[in-house]
């Protein structure tokens, strides 16, 4: 992989509650990294900090490409993508939701259509392109979130509890999608889950967050 992520000694507290206390981790190989731990241990916080969605109180997030340390600017943010447990659906069609990231990158219409169709097909929503996104089920919404990220062809894809609000069937579908991503090998995935069995099914590298620090089993 060309983009390397190094999180060093990350600390974060909310109202005096120290969620992360020196969490460190390096992502330097492609595959699926699964960060697991009990609810409330700070997995989502750690992922949001790594994805540059919020700052840490102490520590450093370093992205390196071709031996160069990258600035935390829009250029870097466009090489990584985070899918939240509740994705935030735009009040428009499934297609327009999936196309959003490409439209803001001023991509040409034909390419947008092609990439969106391919991504929606990948997550099994090809038949619902023109449907109002707000009418999708929670599992379908989560798959839309993944499609919306995949169209961007990110080098690093963060998935925060990707199956947390879905039923068993959609959980299976989402796991299949992640495993297909792994097979294609284009994107490195870092995901969080509190479901240990799911973690074992998906992980190339398993990470456990406990007492604000990351360990490996």
């Amino acid at each position: 992989m060309s983009l390397l992520l190094r999180a060093s000694d990350i600390c974060k507290a909310y109202n005096g509650n120290h969620v992360l206390q020196g969490a460190s981790f390096t992502c330097d190989k492609s595959g699926i990294y699964v960060l697991t731990g009990d609810n409330g241990t700070g997995k989502s916080t750690f992922l949001r900090i790594c994805a540059l969605l919020e700052p840490c109180d102490r520590g450093e997030i370093a992205y390196v490409a071709d031996g160069q340390l990258l600035q935390h600017d829009i250029g870097l943010r466009r090489r990584i993508t985070l899918v939240l447990p509740k994705i935030g659906v735009f009040n428009t069609t499934v297609f327009n939701n999936a196309a959003y990231g490409l439209k803001i990158r001023r991509m040409e219409r034909g390419s947008i259509r092609e990439r969106v169709s391919s991504a929606l097909n990948f997550v099994g929503l090809a038949q619902k392109q023109q449907q109002a996104a707000l009418t999708l089920s929670s599992g379908e919404t989560q798959r839309l979130g993944i499609a919306r990220a995949l169209v961007l062809d990110p080098e690093l894809l963060f998935l925060d509890e990707p199956a947390a609000f879905t039923d068993a069937r959609n959980r299976e579908i989402i796991e299949e999608i992640i495993l297909r991503l792994k097979k294609e090998g284009r994107t490195t995935v870092i995901l969080t889950t509190h479901d240990m069995k799911q973690a074992e099914r998906l992980a190339d590298r398993l990470l456990i967050l406990t007492h604000g620090r990351i360990t490996t089993p």
């Binding site: 969605l53 939240l84 735009f90 449907q131 109002a132 996104a133 009418t135 919306r148």
Partner: protein, 235 residues
């Protein structure tokens, strides 16, 4: 009852065969209210977006003042603009009193807090996840703001509709600063007030019906605009 029916019948005949005077009144009304709405929207919407998207000191106080100003009594606004534009007033040199421009200024003052305050409410009501979603998908800060504004579009159009209702129905302020001069500053609402005083109910009724019809057409147009671009809800 019979005078109402008679008035209505004469009103409809007047609508079907409008006089040049009636047409001029309608056109001026649309010009004044339309211009005021456009100016209030151009000033109010960017401000509502700024208030909705940025944090700064005394923001709560400013919003409270705007909310209070939504209920500004038109005659008070009329009086204020009159004092500003009268010969001895600070803007008297502009010689705008008793002109359509003075009427536009007064109506803009009435419409501005409505567009700004309701627009702000629409923007802050947008799900915070929209902002995060845009950010995670690589949007710049401008693109994030635009995504939030787009999500608030229904509420923003509702704000413009509310302001339109306010200026179209308004009579007190424009009567004071416009003077209701025939052929120059006489608009539908001031004519209705004048003709009612004179007992000329058919013209007053005709104008009332036309005023309602125009409001209905504009509101329907805005409603269509609100719905445009929305996907069908059924699967």
């Amino acid at each position: 009852m019979s005078s109402i029916l008679e008035g209505l019948s004469r009103a409809f005949s007047l609508i079907l065969h409008p006089t040049a005077e009636l047409l001029a009144i309608i056109v001026l009304s649309l010009k004044v209210s339309g211009s005021a709405l456009v100016v209030a929207t151009l000033l109010g919407l960017p401000l509502s977006a700024f208030f909705g998207l940025k944090k700064f000191p005394f923001k709560g106080l400013i919003i409270s003042v705007l909310n209070t100003f939504m209920g500004l009594p038109p005659v008070v606004v009329g009086l204020f603009v009159y004092l500003l534009l009268s010969r001895s007033g600070p803007l008297g040199f502009l010689a705008l009193l008793y002109t359509p421009s003075a009427m536009i200024i007064a109506q803009t003052i009435l419409a501005f807090p409505i567009v700004t305050s309701l627009g702000h409410s629409a923007i802050v009501s947008v799900d915070p996840l929209i902002r995060q979603a845009s950010m995670t998908l690589g949007a710049t800060s401008w693109q994030i703001s635009w995504a939030v504004i787009r999500e608030a579009r229904h509420g923003i159009i509702a704000a413009v509709i509310a302001a339109l209702g306010r200026v179209m129905a308004e009579v007190g302020a424009i009567l004071i600063v416009g003077g209701n001069i025939a052929g120059f500053t006489r608009v539908m609402t001031t004519t209705i007030a004048l003709e009612t005083d004179k007992g000329n109910f058919e013209l007053a009724l005709a104008l009332g019906i036309i005023l309602l019809s125009i409001s209905l057409i504009i509101n329907f147009g805005l409603h269509v605009l609100q719905k445009r671009g929305l996907p069908k809800v059924s699967s």
